[in-house]
């Protein structure tokens, strides 16, 4: 077996003394899509944001256990800025920065000191193509990103993340505000992207998890109930609660 890209060992997180995640063990192999499902408040978003240390900004967060990226401890051996360049994230709400489409995509590379205009233009084209947005915006790269539709904004956010050349991409309910056609485009992009990246997808939509995930993890009340191949989770779950959730009996 190949060594895991991300390895989560006995991870517990609490905010203000209130536990949010408890004792999570999980390995994520490279170049797969791991879907994370579970009802609200199950800790799945906390789990995701722990992977690239976005929770660091929250006050009163306590964390025990460890997260390893390529066998290096994310919380002890990485600078958060470097880590976030390797582990990108797409949020539930599309969050284009208040600037043009072009500037949004090159925001990350610029911050790393890349100034060469030709190189940046090439990056913009490559990333927008990978995010399936190029054809729709190539004629108006210098118009404000806020003018795009919700689905286009979300794909712009994907392109922007790709421009940083990450190794892992986290998706936090990326399609929750999108119509079915935009959702299909984002899912198509994800399926193509896993060739080059490792993807963790948090979703409220169990059908989406079944469609795009190679593996699926089910969280409930801060606990990782079950993780395995998507096929077996959805056809023959080992835990009763997983069965209840995916068949819609609660949640």
């Amino acid at each position: 077996m190949v060594s895991p890209k991300l390895s989560v060992k006995n991870l517990s997180v609490s905010f203000d003394g209130k536990p949010s995640l408890g004792g999570v063990h999980l390995d994520i192999a490279p170049h797969i899509i791991l879907s994370v499902i579970g009802p609200a408040n199950s800790g799945k978003t906390t789990f995701l944001r722990t992977l690239n240390r976005l929770n660091d900004e929250e006050s009163a967060m306590k964390i025990t256990g460890s997260v390893l990226l390529d066998n290096k401890d994310v919380y002890r051996e990485y600078d958060p800025v470097i880590l976030r360049r390797k582990v990108g994230i797409i949020f539930a709400l599309p969050t284009p920065l208040p600037m043009t489409i072009f500037e949004n995509v090159i925001y990350g590379p610029r911050r790393q000191g890349i100034q060469d205009r030709n190189k940046l233009s090439a990056t913009v084209e490559r990333c927008l193509k990978e995010a399936y947005l190029w054809d729709e915006v190539k004629d108006r790269l210098h118009s404000p990103a806020m003018k795009l539709s919700g689905g286009q904004q979300q794909r712009l956010c994907i392109a922007r993340t790709l421009a940083v050349e990450p190794e892992v991409i986290l998706f936090d309910e990326p399609c929750s505000g999108l119509d079915p056609i935009s959702t299909a485009k984002v899912e198509e992009a994800m399926s193509k992207l896993k060739k080059h990246y490792t993807i963790v997808l948090v979703t409220n939509n169990t059908k989406q998890a079944a469609r795009v995930g190679d593996q699926t993890a089910f969280f409930l009340m801060g606990e990782l109930v079950e993780v395995g191949d998507t096929g077996s989770i959805f056809t023959a779950p080992r835990d009763r609660r997983t069965d209840d959730y995916i068949s819609g009996r609660f949640g």
Binding site: L54, E57, F91, L93, T95, L97, R111, R160
Partner: protein, 291 residues
């Protein structure tokens, strides 16, 4: 609806409307009064002589009613105060809103509010005993009572306004912008400089304008530390006199109905127009931010 509810509704509506109108009426009356008294000056003086005249000798014979030295005095002091307070104020706001740990944030915020609560006359006499001698010895000038002393003191009067409004603007930048920038591997400073500050720009400009408005209208502290010399200002290290200080100093001694009396009202109009313009500019930026 029963009649007594109707009456109650009507009463409340009337009272609230009257309170709302009261402030506008007050401003209107003040402006009208200023205009009525101030314009009487122009029976004997031309507007050009008044605004551009270089000699302010209101009780000499023949009198001079040129307020150019006073306008320049105000301008010089305001400019100096702006140069000191804008970078300091914005930096302080950024620190409070983005960098400071919660405890220090609270201490700083109440500190800034306290600064706003200090009466200007107190700042003025602190200026006289500390800033003025310091300027005299440090910059080797004949007197420390200079435009620079006024700027320095006023900078600290403008600071609370600039800091609290700018901090507000920074605070209201959506958290998702910041997280978006962090997620792309931006450092904290890059996030502040490239994302948070531009997003809050219009609010910050409004903060600066309101701070300047405060400086232009301030009287007491300036009068105490700028040396009150109504001659054309030669530089930041020379005594000057501002528009406000002139009115405050001379109003009590002037003969009612004289040209001198009317000229002080005319100065009031000039001040009114300046602060009105500054506040309007701030307003435009605040509204742009809400959109």
């Amino acid at each position: 609806m029963p009649v007594r509810y109707k009456l109650k509704e009507f009463l409340f509506e009337t009272i609230i409307r009257a309170s709302g109108l009261a402030s506008i009426i007050a401003v209107g009356l003040i402006f009208f009064f200023l205009l009525k008294e101030g314009t009487l000056l122009f029976q004997t003086q031309t507007l050009g002589d008044f605004l551009l005249g270089k000699k302010w000798y209101p009780i000499s014979e023949p009198p001079g009613f040129g307020i150019l030295p006073l306008i320049l005095g105000s301008l010089l002091v305001t400019l100096g105060a702006a140069i000191i307070s804008i970078p300091l104020g914005i930096a302080c706001a950024v620190y409070i809103a983005e960098v400071a740990p919660p405890r220090i944030k609270e201490i700083l915020k109440s500190g800034v509010e306290l600064l706003a609560a200090i009466p200007s006359v107190v700042l003025g006499f602190i200026g006289i005993v500390t800033v003025v001698p310091w300027i005299k010895s440090t910059f080797d000038v004949p007197t420390g009572l200079t435009a620079f002393a006024g700027s320095f003191i006023l900078a600290f009067m403008a600071m609370p306004t600039v800091v609290s409004i700018a901090e507000d603007a920074l605070h209201s930048v959506p958290k998702i912008y910041k997280e978006g920038a962090y997620a792309l591997g931006a450092t904290q400073w890059q996030t502040i400089y490239r994302v948070v500050l531009p997003a809050a720009a219009s609010g910050i400009v409004a903060a600066v304008m309101l701070g300047i408005g405060r400086v232009v209208g301030e009287t007491m502290a300036v009068m105490m530390v700028t040396g009150n010399s109504a001659s054309m200002p030669k530089g930041i290290f020379y005594p000057v006199r501002t528009l406000t200080a002139t009115v405050a100093a001379e109003m009590g001694e002037t003969v009612q109905g004289s040209d001198h009396y009317f000229s002080l009202f005319a100065i009031g109009i000039v001040l009114f127009v300046i602060t009105f313009a500054v506040n309007m500019t701030a307003d435009v930026f605040i509204h742009r931010r809400r959109k």
